[in-house]
Structures are given as structure tokens and as C-alpha cells.
């Protein structure tokens, strides 16, 4: 029973108790406890992984929807731009057409006026020549009485006539 001399009896009972505790607890305590704890750890790990995955999926879905929205926006813009473009084009075309039409009409009118003018001048010339013929006939009848006068007059007329 000395302080530092090991005691066989106590040593023996110690080994017996420890072995007993070890065997009993290994079967009935440590096994289920370690199992439950590792199971729980696994569950938690799985839960975290699943949550992460769900988060990832959500971001993916969000990305997808964003993409769809942005695509739609681009399309909308394109459609709008196209509409604006075609409208402008239409107006432009209409304007061009109108311009062309008016020019044509103008041209035609000018041509017509020119033609009319020509015709009028022609007519006038014809009329003048017939009038002058009449006048000449009248003058001739009157002047034929006096030769000298007749000649002079004719010259004068002729001079006048040259102007036109």
C-alpha cells in the first residue's frame, strides 16, 4: 500500500473494470454514437451540398430568364427599328414618287406649252402672211395708179416686212 509501489489487486481490478467498460461501451455506446454522429455529419454535408446545388440551379435559372428577357428586348428593339426604317423608307419612296410625278407633269406641261406656242406662232405667221397678202393686194390696187409711188411704197413695205 505504498505510494509508488503498484498493488497487484488494484491493478487486477483496474484491468478487469477497464476491459469490461471498454467491451460494454464499445458495443452499446460508442458504436451507435459514432455511427449517429458520422451519419449526422454526412447529412449536414449532404444538406450543404444540396443547398449549394439549389443555389447554383437558381442562379442558372435566373441567368436563363435574364438571357431570355434580354433577347426579347433586343428583338423588340430590332422590330421597332425595322418598323421605323420601313416607315421612313416608305415616306421617302412616296416623296420620290411624288417628285418624279410632278416633274413629269411639269415637263409635259412645258412641252405642251411649247407646242401650243409653236402652233400659235405658226398660225400667226399664216394669218400675218394672208393679211399681208390682202394688204399687199389692196396697196397694189391703190398704188398701181402711180408707178413711182407704187415702187417707193413697195420698197418701204418690204423694209418693214424684213423686220419681222
Amino acid at each position: 500500500m505504498d505510494l509508488i509501489t503498484p498493488d497487484f489487486g488494484l491493478f487486477f481490478w483496474m484491468i478487469v473494470s477497464f476491459t469490461l467498460v471498454f467491451i460494454i461501451l464499445r458495443k452499446f455506446a460508442w458504436k451507435p454514437i459514432v455511427l449517429a454522429i458520422s451519419e449526422r455529419e454526412k447529412n449536414i454535408e449532404e444538406g450543404i451540398i444540396m443547398a449549394e446545388k439549389a443555389k447554383e440551379d437558381m442562379t442558372k435559372v435566373e441567368e436563363k430568364s435574364e438571357k431570355i428577357i434580354s433577347e426579347a428586348r433586343i428583338e423588340k428593339e430590332a422590330i421597332l427599328r425595322k418598323g421605323r426604317q420601313s416607315r421612313e423608307q416608305l415616306i421617302e419612296e412616296a416623296k420620290e414618287q411624288a417628285k418624279l410625278n410632278s416633274q413629269e407633269m411639269l415637263e409635259m406641261a412645258k412641252k405642251r406649252i411649247e407646242e401650243e406656242k409653236e402652233a400659235a406662232i405658226q398660225q400667226m405667221k399664216e394669218q400675218i402672211s394672208s393679211v399681208s397678202l390682202e394688204i399687199a393686194e389692196k396697196v397694189l390696187r391703190e398704188e398701181l395708179a402711180d408707178d413711182k409711188k407704187q415702187k417707193k411704197l413697195m420698197e418701204q413695205y418690204l423694209k418693214e416686212f424684213k423686220v419681222n
Binding site: L10, F11, M14, I15, S17, K31, P32, V34, I37, R40
Partner: protein, 369 residues
């Protein structure tokens, strides 16, 4: 007031009742009388007072009243070649004053305190040798009690884990689960290695809680507790032996290779004189030996200091009762302080013992150098 007794409490109550009845029946034997250091002329001897407490004993001194010591006799189990198995209660020895069945408790010499055989003249007969002593001593009984407490706690918890593995920890389970997790995650896993720690878990956990619960119960100075179990060299020797077995029986080829042919060491240290081998083999034994001494010394020191503070009361009280009363407050305060310190030491020593054992096991099973 109505008291609800659950099954668990019932079991604990039964155990306490059984122990109490055993104690009272022992007390009724009036195992009372003066002790050797109680001679009126001698006065108070703190040395023997303290060592009586920390040493093992064949009877359990419960309390003293008016100079009479009341002790519970414990069963003595002896085996020797001449008379075979002898089982009797320790009060037959009358506190070591008389011999019984040719056995007596030695009062002096190197065998002081242990049971020896005597011849018909009452002299110790050395030639027949000491009997094999399997007595249920104070420390053995205290250890049995703590074993019961340990089993009760962990079987209850284990049952709960088995029935509801993924349930939320409840009651006592929520107190012990962090400790179990601590032993697994902070002792076994890093010390032994992520891949190899699993098979050692039952041993590591048993070791930790066996030491810790024994340490803690040793600090409670009420009857079936308060014995200096883990501060006894035989107990720590037993623990060190389990550690020795765990380390060396799990040692792989590399571990033995390291011992028998240490790598990276000049050849002349290994041959012809196997100097390094001798050092390594000594090292195999010093590791558990140091574990044994450390736990023993720490727990015993705690008990000695606490008892020392309480001895102060009686030392001063002998000079004058006023001194005694004066020092009582200080002694109790320091005693409480030391006890709280010992609660810490109880946990730390359990941790250190378990951690070092795990580290040695880790070194024995490791694949790397």
C-alpha cells in the same frame, strides 16, 4: 411535493441504497476505534493524515465523531498456496491491530499497509511469501462506483443514439455530445490521422471518459466517491498498460522498422553495438511509463494540496482553538480554489493522457516517416 422518479433515477437510487445499506451494516459492526496516530501524546500529524487519505486502504473511513473513527469494512479476498482462497470482511483485522486467519496488515517495513501472512507466534513469515491480494479495497470500490456511473451515463446516451440517431441531443446527451465530439475531432482525428482513427475510437473514448470520470469523482468527498483512484500508481499503471498494448499491437511494419533499424542514422551507432535499437526499445517502454507517472503525480498532488490546506486548520487548532477558527476561513477558501483548479486538472489530465496515447498510436500506424 411530489417526486417523479424515472427509470433512470430509480436505478441510480437503487445503487445508492445498496451501497448505503452495505455501509450501514458495516457501521453497525462498529468498526470503530482509535488509530495508531491517534495517541493523545502524539498530536495531529499532517503527514500521516494526508497519506492515509491518498493511499489505498482495506476499510473506508467515512467520518469521525468525538475521536471515534467510523469506517466501512470492505471485503478482503486473499489467495495463497497454503490456505487457498480466503474471503472475509476487513473489520476482522480490527484496524490492523489483530491478525485473522494467519493474516495481518503489516504496520512497518517495506510492506507497510499490505496484508502479510503470519505464523502461529504472530511473526511475519517471509518464506511463505505474500498472499495474492484481490481485496475490494477503497480504491477498487470507488472505481467500481465510477464504472457504474460511466456505464449508466453512456448506456443511456447510447440508447438514445440508437433509437433516434438523427434526433436533437437532449438532457445528459447534450452535455456529453460536445465532449465526445471533442475527443473525436480534436484528439483522435488529428493525432491518429483522418484515415485510420476510426477503429481506435472506442478505446480512445473509453480511456478519456474513464480517466475523466474517475478524476472528477475523486474530487467529491462524499462516501462512494472521493477516493484517490487515478492518483494511485496501480490504476495509472493499468491505464498505461492499455495504452502500451494499443500502441504496440497496432504498430505497423514501418513502426517496428523504425525501432529495429532506425533510418537516417550512421551505421556505427547500429552495428556492431545496437545502441540506437536499445534506445528505441527503451523508448517503447518510457512512453507509457511517463503517462503512468504524469497522471499519478498530477492527481495525487491535487489531493495532497487540498488535504494540506485542511490540515492547516488542525495544526493551528492544536496551538489554540482561536488560531484554528481563524485559519478555517482561509483554508476553506483555498481548499475551494484548489478544488476548482482540480476540476480543470481532471479534464486536462484526461485530455493529455488520451492525446498522447492517440499521438503514439498515430505514430505507430502512420505510413510516412
Amino acid at each position: 411535493m411530489k417526486i417523479y422518479i424515472t427509470d433512470r433515477v430509480n436505478l441510480t437510487a437503487k445503487i445508492v441504497i445498496v451501497i448505503a445499506v452495505a455501509g450501514i451494516s458495516g457501521l453497525s459492526d462498529l468498526n470503530a476505534g482509535p488509530r495508531e496516530n491517534d495517541d493523545p501524546g502524539k498530536g495531529f500529524e499532517p503527514g500521516s493524515f494526508i497519506f492515509d487519505h491518498i493511499a489505498d486502504s482495506y476499510e473506508w473511513h467515512v467520518f469521525s465523531f468525538r475521536g471515534t473513527h467510523y469506517s466501512i469494512p470492505l471485503p478482503v479476498i486473499l489467495f495463497c498456496r497454503e490456505s487457498g482462497l480466503n474471503i472475509f470482511m476487513s473489520n476482522k483485522f480490527d484496524h490492523g491491530y489483530s491478525s485473522y486467519n494467519s493474516f495481518k496488515i503489516e504496520n512497518e517495513g517495506p510492506d507497510k499497509g499490505s496484508i502479510v501472512r503470519v505464523n502461529s507466534n504472530g511473526e511475519t513469515c517471509d518464506e511463505s511469501g505474500k498472499p495474492l491480494d484481490f481485496s475490494i479495497t477503497k480504491n477498487v470500490l470507488a472505481m467500481f462506483f465510477s464504472v457504474m456511473v460511466t456505464l449508466l451515463i453512456f448506456l443511456t446516451i447510447g440508447k438514445r443514439y440508437r433509437e433516434e440517431p438523427s434526433g436533437v441531443p437532449k438532457g445528459i446527451q447534450s452535455f456529453f455530445e460536445p465532449l465526445i465530439m471533442f475527443v473525436i475531432d480534436d484528439i483522435a482525428k488529428p493525432a491518429i490521422g483522418e484515415k485510420k482513427y476510426k477503429p481506435f475510437l472506442p478505446y480512445i473514448l473509453t480511456l478519456f471518459f474513464f480517466i475523466w470520470i474517475n478524476n472528477m469523482l475523486g474530487l467529491i468527498p462524499i462516501f462512494p466517491m472521493g477516493a484517490n483512484v487515478t492518483g494511485n500508481i496501480s490504476v495509472t499503471m493499468g491505464l498505461a498498460l492499455t495504452s502500451f498494448i494499443a500502441i504496440n499491437f497496432s504498430g505497423n511494419k514501418k513502426y517496428w522498422g523504425h525501432i529495429l533499424n532506425p533510418p537516417g542514422i550512421p551505421a556505427f551507432l547500429k552495428f556492431p553495438l545496437p545502441l540506437m535499437q536499445i534506445i528505441e526499445i527503451v523508448g517503447v517502454f518510457t512512453k507509457p511509463f511517463v503517462l503512468m507517472i504524469r497522471l499519478f503525480a498530477n492527481i495525487t498532488a491535487g489531493h495532497i494540496i487540498t488535504m494540506g490546506f485542511f490540515s492547516l486548520i488542525f495544526i493551528f487548532g492544536e496551538r489554540s482553538p482561536f488560531f484554528g477558527y481563524g485559519i478555517t476561513g482561509v483554508s476553506v477558501l483555498f481548499g475551494i480554489f484548489i478544488t476548482f483548479l482540480e476540476f480543470l486538472v481532471a479534464l486536462i489530465q484526461a485530455y493529455v493522457f488520451t492525446l498522447l496515447t492517440s499521438l503514439f498510436i498515430g505514430a505507430a500506424v502512420s505510413d510516412e516517416h
